[in-house]
Symmetry: C2
Subunit: 165 residues, 2 copies
DNA sequence: CCGCGATATCTTGACGTCAAGATAAATTGC
DNA sequence: GCAATTTATCTTGACGTCAAGATATCGCGG
């Protein structure tokens, strides 16, 4: 009577158990659900970013600048440290945002190797609006989960994350 | 006294609360940890795939063929249904795998629009070895989490996923 | 048995990402 | 002061992904 609904990931595990019964797939369920969940959440979030002419990449940079507080300026190195991407990726992100007029590269008076990335006033407006929509959308995405489950899940994700970083 | 260690995500939330106190960022912690966790896991998994000359994209296709059982053949449409990507992406994945000699496109005798993607013997060897290494690596990735926590986390992820798909 | 909407797969063009390495300026140590 | 090392950022080339649309074939309704 204790039937739990099988989801997509359960079917994959069942196939592996049939084809390669000697493999221990006990971790695959958890990691598979993590991946699938992330893919769904990610796509839903992208839709909201797109409504504001942004991608998750550009939102990520603008949001980092915005939440750093006035004057909304950081070096590429600072942005790099905050965003889990490589330097080449960050250069490209900044290039795109600069083309779009949402940030500008200023000379760094203290270090001629470096530059300062600054939100333009258009960039500030854009990220303020996008962030408002984004957090509302995040609320919607977790709305199907009971508040107690959300807390429990967050606590476990925190624990897990701590083992990896 | 109940101090929980602040992680990277907590710092982001604190910044938003300072800069945009009117925003309800209560869902951002959970979703942010999910994203970060997935990024870490993903990269660790890529390393193992790379040791076998694969990427997560190519592993994904080969694994789907492998766990479907003999004769290790599926249509692009079947693969599409199993893998959360678009048809253009699947065409590209198959192209790459075909170039690498790991799968081949066979004519579908029952439908001239369609083809059948079949693992080559080299592809079978490759995915068997890669899958063995991959599941071992997955065990390693969750090893830092107590077994009870793993179960609880998996159950919550399942619940959450069910609300989205 | 024919026309036409449905289906299976591929093509195109624009991005985003990474690894590896290039460039230029700052800093360190003698 | 100056060479060697380190640091900050950018460049290059190869992939992977998507959305939108192109092709070719299937199969249904008349």
């Amino acid at each position: 009577m204790e039937e739990i609904d099988k989801d997509h990931v359960d079917k994959i595990l069942a196939q592996w158990r049939r084809e390669r019964p000697e493999l221990d797939v006990s971790a695959m369920g958890l990691l598979g659900r993590l991946a699938r969940l992330r893919a769904h959440v990610s796509r839903e979030q992208e839709k909201v970013f797109a409504e504001h002419g942004l991608t998750s990449a550009s939102f990520d940079v603008l949001a980092t600048l915005r939440r750093s507080g006035p004057p909304f300026q950081l070096s590429p190195g600072d942005l790099l440290a905050a965003t889990m991407v490589t330097s080449g990726t960050m250069t490209n992100r900044i290039d795109q945002l600069e083309k779009a007029g949402l940030v500008e590269r200023l000379n760094n008076p203290e270090d001629r190797r470096g530059v300062i990335i600054a939100l333009t006033s258009e960039g500030l407006k854009r990220i303020n609006a996008a962030a408002t929509a984004h957090v509302a959308n995040q609320q919607r995405l977790v709305a199907g989960l009971a508040p107690g489950d959300r807390e429990a899940l967050d606590a476990l994700l925190r624990k897990f994350l701590a083992t990896l970083e």
